[in-house]
Amino acid sequence: MSKVTIDPITRLEGHGKIEIFLNDEGGVANAYFQVPELRGFERFCEGRPVEELPRITPRICGVCPDAHHMASAKACDAVYHVDIPSAAKKLRELWYSAFMAGDHATHFYVLGGPDFVMGPTADPAERNILGVIQKVGLDVAKRVIRQRKEAHEVIEMLGGKPTHPVGALPGGLSKSINEEERARLLEIGQGMVEFGQFSLQLFGDVVLKNPDYMDLVMSDAFTHRTYYLGLMDDDNRVNFYDGHVRVVDPDGREFVRFTAPEYTEVIAEHVETWSYLKFPFLKKVGWKGLVDGADSGVYRSAPLARLNAAEGMATPLAQEAYETMYSTFGTKPVHQTLAYHWARLIEMLYAGERVVELAQDPEITSPEVHKVPDATPDEGVGMVEAPRGLLIHHYRTDSNGIVERANLIVGTTNNKAAICMSIKRAAEGMIKPGKEISEGILNIVEMAFRAYDPCFGCATHALPGHMPLIVTVRDTQGNVLQEIRRDG
C-alpha cells in the first residue's frame, strides 16, 4: 500500500494535510484530512472577565473576526440576560452583513472562483485571480478590491479596526452612527447589491453555460446526501445574525429546530486520534462514521446548507436568485458540493440588500445603542452564521461575570466530516487502478475542499501565475516511488 501526502494544504486552511492511501490495485483505499492545529481558546478564556471575550475570541480567525466578535457579544448578552436596544441589534446586523458581503466576494473571486470561472480543465497557470481577470476584465478585480475596502470601511466605522474589531460589548455597542455615516452606509450597501447582481450574472454566463464544468458539478464525485442546517428568522429565511437554527434531512424535511441555549441537545462532537479538530454531528441520528445519508449524523453548514435548510431569502433580489438556483437543479435540497459557490453569491447579494434595508431604517441613527445589564451574570449562548458555517459561543461565568467555562463550535468545524468525505470521494473519483496519478487529481481534490471555503481560506489575492505542487508517492517504508510535479 502506498501513501500520497499533500502537506501543507495551501490556498486554504493554513494548517491542514491530506493523506491518501492507495490499495495494491492502485485505487483509493482511504483518504484523511487532518487538522494539525489547536490553540485552546476554550481553556484560556477561563478567568477572563466575560466582556473581554469579544476581544479575545476574534483571534481565532483573522479572516472572519467579526463572526466571533458578534457571536461572543451575543453570548455575553445572554450571560447577562440583557435584551440589547433595538437600534443596537440593527446596527450589529448591518455591520455583520457588510462583513459577509466582503468576505464572500473575496472567496468567490480569488480563492474558489478561479476553479469555477476558468473551468476544471484550464491550465493551472491560469487557475487564479489573474486568469479570472484576463477572462472577465481588470475592472472586476478593482471591483473586488472595492467591495473589500468598503466592507472594511463599515467595520472600521462601527468597530474601530478592520481586523479584530472592538465595538460590540455586553448590552449593545460602544458607539452609534450619525446621519453622515448612515448615508455612506447606504451608498456602500447599494454598491454591494450591484456587485451581487453582477457576480450572479457572471456566474450564469461563465459557469452554468460551461458543459464540462456542469458535468463536474453534477457528478457523483462531488455529491453528498447529508443533513443541512442554518440560522433562520421566524419565516425560515436565512439570517446571518439572529434567529433559530433549522435542520433538514437529506430529503429536505424539517428534522429539528433549536435556539441557542438548546444546541447541546442537537449537536455533539466526535473525537478521532488523527486530527486535532473534532467532528460535529447530529446527536439524535448518531455518529456512524464518515458516511452520507439519513442514517448518518453528518451534517453540512455554510451557504449551500443554509439555503437548503431555509424556505427562502428575506430580500427580493436574493429570493429571485434562490428560486433560479433551485429550479436549475430541479430539486431541493441541492446535494452537489460545488453549488456552494452559487449559494455563496446569493448570500452575498442578500447581505448587500440587508445593508441597504438597515441603512434605511429610521432607527439606525439612534444614540440608544447600549443598555447597562442589571441582572446577575451566569450562563449564555450566542450563535451567528459565520461565512463558513454556524458559529456557537457558550459561556458560563461566576456572579461577577468572570468566565468559568467556555465552549466553542466554530464555522468550518461543522463541515469537518463533510470535507473529509468530499476529499475521499473526489480522490476515489479521479484515482483509478491502472490510471496514472496526474496533476489533474490534485486540483480535483483541492476543488472538493475549496468549495467549503474553510477558515483561512481567504487569500485576497492569489499572486502571479504558477501554483506549483508536488505530490510524493511513497511506499510503506517511506521510499519515494514517484514524484509528480506541477510547476505551474
Binding site: 502537506d7 501543507p8 494544504i9 495551501t10 490556498r11 493554513g14 494548517h15 493523506e19 492511501f21 483505499a29 482511504n30 484523511y32 494539525p36 492545529e37 490553540r39 485552546g40 476554550e42 481553556r43 484560556f44 477561563e46 478567568g47 472577565p49 466582556e51 483571534r59 480567525c61 483573522g62 479572516v63 455575553c76 475596502k149 472600521e156 462601527l158 474601530g160 479596526k161 481586523t163 472592538v166 465595538g167 460589548l169 448590552g171 460602544s174 458607539k175 462532537e269 473525537v271 478521532e272 486520534t273 488523527w274 486535532y276 473534532k278 460535529p280 447597562v372 457558550h394 461575570g401 468572570i402 465552549n407 477558515c455 487569500a459 485576497t460 489575492h461 499572486l463 502571479p464 508536488i470
Partner: protein
Amino acid sequence: MALYWAASCGGCEISVLEVNEAILDVAGFFDIVFWPVALDFKYHHVAAMADGEILVCLFNGAVRNSEQKEIAELLRRKSQVMVAHGSCACWGGIPALANVTDRDGVFQRVYFESPSTDNPQRITPQTSTRMPEGEITLPVFFDTVYALDQVVPVEYYMPGCPPVVDQTLSVVEALMSGALPPPGSVVGAGSKTVCEECKREKSDEKKVRRFRRIHLAGDLDPIKCLLEQGVICTGPATRSGCGAKCTTVGMACRGCYGPPAGVVDQGAKLISALAAVIDSQDPEEIERIADGIDDPLGYAYRFGMAASSLRRVRVQ
C-alpha cells in the same frame, strides 16, 4: 520573500494583503517563494533552497507545536532576515494565553469536558495513529507557547494584532529600499505609548476610587480619558503606532502593540500604571479598590505572555 503562519489566526496575512494595490509593487519586487495562504509551494521547496537564499521571511504566529518549531528553524536557515511579524511572533500574542495551562489542561477541556463533546472513550489526538491503511501523524502539541525569538534568532519585530495597514506598507517599503534600522529593532511602530496617539482628553489628575467594567459603567464621558474614568486601559503601557483605533470607538486599549520602547515587561508596567492612579493612602481601601481589577494577568499579558518575565503559569 517568504511568509509563514505558525499558531496564528491569519490576520497578519490579511494585513499584508490590505495594502491593496500596493501589493502589486511588492509582488513585482519580490519573488514570493513560500506563502501557504496564497501559493502552493510546499515545505520541501523551502528545504531544497540554499541557506540564505531567501532575503526576508515574514513569520507570523506563535510557536506552539513541533511542526511550527521545525518550520521556524528551517526558514531561519534559509533566510537572511527574519521578521517577527505581528504580536504573536513578537511576544506570543493571544495564543500565548494558553500558557496559563499546559497540554493536558487544554486537552481536558477540549476533548473531555466540553459540553458538546461526545467522547466516552476519552480519545485524544495522537502524534501517530495506525490506520488499517498505514500510519498518519500529527505534530506534538507543546505545553508552552513560545515567541519566535525564543526558538530562533530574529532581526526585526513588527508588532500589532494585526499591524495596521499603513505600518505594514512602511515596513515593506523599507524592506524594498533596504533602509532598515539596526537588527533587534522594532519596526512599523512608534516609540512612545498609545496615550500619545489617543485623541481623548487627558488631565494631569488621575484619581480612581473605583475601577469600572466598561459595559457596567453606563455614563462614560466619550471625550475623557478612559483610565481617568476608572476603566482599565492598557494604553499607558503599550507602544504607539496603531493610531489608537480602539479608544476612538469608545473601547479601551488592550495592548496589542506590545511594550513601549525601553520596557522589558509590559504587564509589570501596566500593574504599576494602574496602581499609580489608585486614589488612596489607606492599605485596606487600596486593597478594596485593587479588587476591582478582576484579572491582572489577563490585562497585563493579553498579548505578551510568552515574552513576559515569568512566561507561563506554574501548573500544579
